[in-house]
Symmetry: C2
Subunit: 626 residues, 2 copies
């Protein structure tokens, strides 16, 4: 990490996850043994980086599966059913295209003996005459310092940035009329990835707003893969400062890339809008996250006041303002609020379900009148955590799997069509669904005694199905899925489904009442809905009721950046959400136990899946395209 | 100055005023000659500090008249007709006793599974339940940092400071319930002196608010005595920063003294309210003052947003906020607005005239419906500037003079009853009035050929009247008043009177319509009203219509500190004042020329004075106590 080399470490370097495998090519490391490294591997020099220390000159190889490779992120946000531009336009025509920081060209009247009110008052007066700028504007001391000379040097033609949310404040004054070069940046700060877009603020109706996009892994992943590891790290000496520093540096990197790509001047960025989960926001703003993970899970804050970007170390001009989409609770953050606001579900009378399945499954139910939200600690299975060969959707990750119902042989597709090195979330859903439909596993997720194949065997962690033999893989080890893995996946999907059930019950509704199921998040876009239904992660509904929204958090931040009306709406969404705490919730525990079955204990909720299981036929939900 | 020794220097060290006399007691200085130093004095080692440089070891004596001695300032604000406590109480009962930063003891409800909204939201909710705290309160990032731990360590009992003006903002959160120890500081930043008071914010009705008072010379006086010299110095390299530094250090010194005197903890100061003229505010906040002195005299700003005290270098706790009473124009500043608000003239239907005579004479005319204001560049005569033996009201300054109408011998009183070293403003007014009434000078301010006395003689600057012979003085030189001095005084009084005339004409009124003449400022309290009328500085009105307000600027800042309602009112006063520019104003020039006579060209405006002059009798205005 000191040398800028980032290695996978789900557990944050506590010697728990076994993901940070490296190989000593020369020299030695002082290193402990670890159950995840076999004797033969140990002899070959394989070590876990986190429990090794350098005791002299050494050459260390970092195998592909341990690398943090951002190339996959370039596949950027995919929106299948809806397209970003269309959503943006629809929302902008509803909420107005007035950026969160508006930029005005001012031709300030020169003072004379009859009218010699102060320079500051002249600016305020000139602003007051602009449409939509009725409220009085505060000039902070920072823009006052040399205003007198600046105004006169500019011959009284200046560009003034005005923050339109919160206190009306002139955030910057520059010489000349420059409102034509006006940009903003939207950032989604995820636990795993950070995505950013450069936006045009000066466009008219019908003009696109996205000028460039970029994303990278959150550099905090070296300090732990999930929010809990990060919060624990933040509690160490100087830990919070370090975590803030690395996430800010990640954002700085992206900002630099966006500016370079679009050849835009840093000074022309008037504001940055961020959205992220509550923990990420605490770390980004550098405030103590400790109580997020301690019952009763009270965050320090879910809303953050507008700031100068420089106050938290963002590399931006002095005048560039930072806004955050507010969140609801410790585990329903601004990323979810941003996505819900973007989804349009609050513009409808029909009830929709919004799901963002990552390490936590965050779910929101409601319509224009009411919103219920919850977070089910689904566990990181779909992001590769707790799964023996689990991995993020990096090149070589198995993302699609079909199992021949007769031969029980698998057919796999990997990200980037590279030699396989692990299994990512969508691959895991496919595997479980295919194993179930092929009868290789039963509805408990145990390997069935009836369907025999050489691919099912006893491994060191119990029975397992071999997806790829060592020779076909990049990592030269058999890639398998174990009964422990299956159990983890079932727990995860059960938590999500149970969470949805609880919200519906609280809303007096059933799954069938859902008009729309919105699947947000980077993970969402790659899953196969029919497989997800087959394992009972998603409810069995006609396929046309499902919508993929991709990175809805980034989308909401993007629209908020160019529409203060939409930013205010996001605030209303946050305030109107009723958070239902699922931990220690008896109703949730009942639903969770009922969902610990494939697809579910209550087969009536999955009639088509049950029919397919009974008939051994291929499963198809109504409305399916296939 | 580098050694912390401050010397009088009206001109700011440009070799112009001749006030910074020092004596070489040993060693030598490289020094130029100067017309203000006679040959004999030069031989005796007298030099001007500003045109001398140290070329080797030397012992330099600083004579009393060159010293900046703050002891006189201890005579503190005198209010003759009204008393501070009475005004404060009357205004507080009208505008409410709610400090600009209110301090709330909060017993924040603990979170539990049913109610785990964020710590920040809990604070906001607890605040919302407090009376008078309806608006939503913003928590800045600075108070969020360790709020979680702080709340829990304090067992959810905290004290929250909330800024009640501008954006409602929680400025500080401290452990425990401390609203009982709540203080503020009011500061008047004058060109010459800075005065401050420590105020109790937690008192009930009828309880006094002044806990301690202190004042000192503005350390900027070494950089020039008047605002123009300061503005010129600010234009030099690093000049603005230096001037800001020294005035801030002056305020810091006073704050330290106040806290020590009252044994109050610095952290218990929730806010500081400053008032000062427009130039002083520019220098205090560190913004470019240049255009104040260039036509059309446009200040950079007359209102300043609330800040953290630390942002400009005040030694205060991180949470202590800084507010400023807003001003009107380059030469009618927050000090005048503060005084006008305090004076009560805007609560009346009758028309009052408010005057603050210092280097500039600032005057305000009006009532509850309208306000006109102007600044007449009176010149610094009444502060000793441009007068050969002029001095500030320091110990040894001649402050009262009577001239025997028969013998024409003077009787003098000095500040602190010390041996005389110069003449201060009230002394100058007395001298001119007494010389006039005794017939020693005529209505043009020239020595009359008719009344002969050995005290009138030809000096190096024309004819002069000897007030004290060298042997009776501290400075061992004759103290005289010359015809040039007389001319300067007449110009000064004429400018003030002409300014008042112009305001009255613009208001469609005459002096006789004035219900009240309010005389504010440190200078004001020591003048003899009858003498000031006799020379035509003040209009001839019944004496009971005059009110002395002492340091009304400080008074207004004081009431604003403990009453946000009054602070808002001061803002309204500033906005409702119509500034009349007198420079290059033909009407003003006419009035000025007419006033260049003792008491005035139009004797009908001064019937009693004219009668006394005619009869050679003692002058007495109607309603006078004597």
């Amino acid at each position: 990490m000191k040398a800028g080399v980032h290695i996978n470490a789900s557990c944050g370097g506590r010697g728990a996850c076994g993901k940070c495998r490296v190989r000593m090519a020369a020299g030695t490391l002082s290193s402990s043994v670890h159950p995840s490294i076999g004797e033969e591997e140990y002899a070959a020099g394989v070590r876990l980086a986190c429990i090794s220390s350098v005791s002299g000159d050494a050459v260390i190889e970092i195998p592909l599966e341990s690398q943090v490779d951002r190339s996959v992120l370039r596949r950027s946000t995919v929106m299948s059913d809806v397209d970003a531009g269309g959503i943006d336009e629809a929302l902008l025509s509803e909420y107005g295209r007035e950026p969160l920081v508006e930029r005005y060209d001012l031709d300030v009247p020169r003072p004379d003996a009859q009218d010699n009110v102060s320079d500051a008052a002249r600016i305020a007066r000139a602003l007051a005459s602009k449409p939509g700028c009725g409220e009085p504007v505060v000039l902070p001391l920072s823009v006052m310092h040399d205003l007198g000379t600046k105004l006169r040097d500019a011959d009284w033609n200046v560009t003034v940035d005005v923050a339109m949310s919160g206190q009306r404040e002139a955030t910057g004054i520059t010489k000349g009329n420059a409102a034509g070069s006006h940009y903003a940046i939207a950032v989604d700060i995820g636990t795993t990835t950070v995505a950013a877009q450069l936006l045009a603020c000066d466009g008219g109706e019908g003009k696109g707003i996205i000028l460039a996009s970029s994303s990278d892994y959150n550099r905090q992943i070296s300090f732990g893969e999930d929010v809990i590891s990060r919060i624990m790290y933040a509690g160490k000496r100087d830990g919070l400062r370090k975590l803030q520093e690395v996430v800010v540096s990640t954002v700085n990197l992206l900002i630099g890339e966006l500016l370079g790509e679009a050849d835009v001047d840093r000074a022309d960025i008037s504001h940055v809008v961020v959205a992220g989960n509550t923990t990420m926001m605490h770390l980004f703003y550098g405030i103590e996250p400790k109580h997020i993970m301690l019952a009763p899970y009270t965050p320090l804050a879910t809303a953050f006041p507008p700031l100068g970007c420089g106050e938290i170390g963002l590399e931006a001009a002095a005048h560039t303002r930072l806004f955050a989409i507010p969140g609801v609770s410790s585990y329903v953050g601004g990323d979810i609020v941003s996505g819900v606001a973007l989804s349009g579900m609050t513009e409808r009378d029909d009830v929709s379900l919004f799901m963002d399945i990552g390490t936590n499954g965050e779910i929101v139910l409601g319509n224009g009148q009411w919103l219920l939200c919850a977070s089910c600690s689904a566990g990181p299975a779909f992001e590769g955590g707790g799964i023996e060969f689990g991995t993020r959707a990096a090149p070589g990750a198995i993302e699609k799997v079909r199992i021949n119902p007769v031969t029980l042989e698998p057919m796999i597709l990997t990200v980037g069509r590279k030699k396989p090195l692990g299994i990512c979330g969508s691959g895991l859903i496919d595997i479980v669904a295919e194993l179930l439909l092929a009868g290789v596993i039963d509805r408990n997720g145990k390997f069935s005694a009836e369907r025999r194949t050489k691919r099912v065997r006893d491994g060191s962690n119990g029975r397992e199905y071999v997806l790829c033999f060592a020779s076909e893989t990049h990592i030269e080890r058999d890639i398998v899925i174990t009964e422990i893995d299956l159990d983890n996946i079932i727990r995860t999907k059960a938590a999500v489904y149970a969470g949805c059930s609880v919200l519906l019950e609280n809303g007096g509704l059933a799954f069938g009442d859902l008009d729309m199921v919105i699947i947000a998040g980077g993970f969402g876009h790659s899953i196969d809905i029919e497989k997800a239904i087959a394992i009972g992660l998603l409810p069995e509904l006609p396929i046309e009721r499902f919508r993929f929204m991709g990175n809805a958090s980034l989308g909401g931040a993007r629209v908020a950046a160019v529409s203060c009306g939409f930013f205010e709406k996001a605030g209303q969404v946050a305030r109107s959400m009723t958070n239902i705490e699922l931990s220690n919730n008896a109703q949730f525990m009942d639903e969770f136990m009922a969902a610990m079955f494939l697809p579910h204990t209550d087969g009536r909720a999955f009639p088509e899946t049950m029919k397919a299981l009974k008939n051994g036929s291929r499963f198809q939900v109504p409305g399916s395209r296939s």
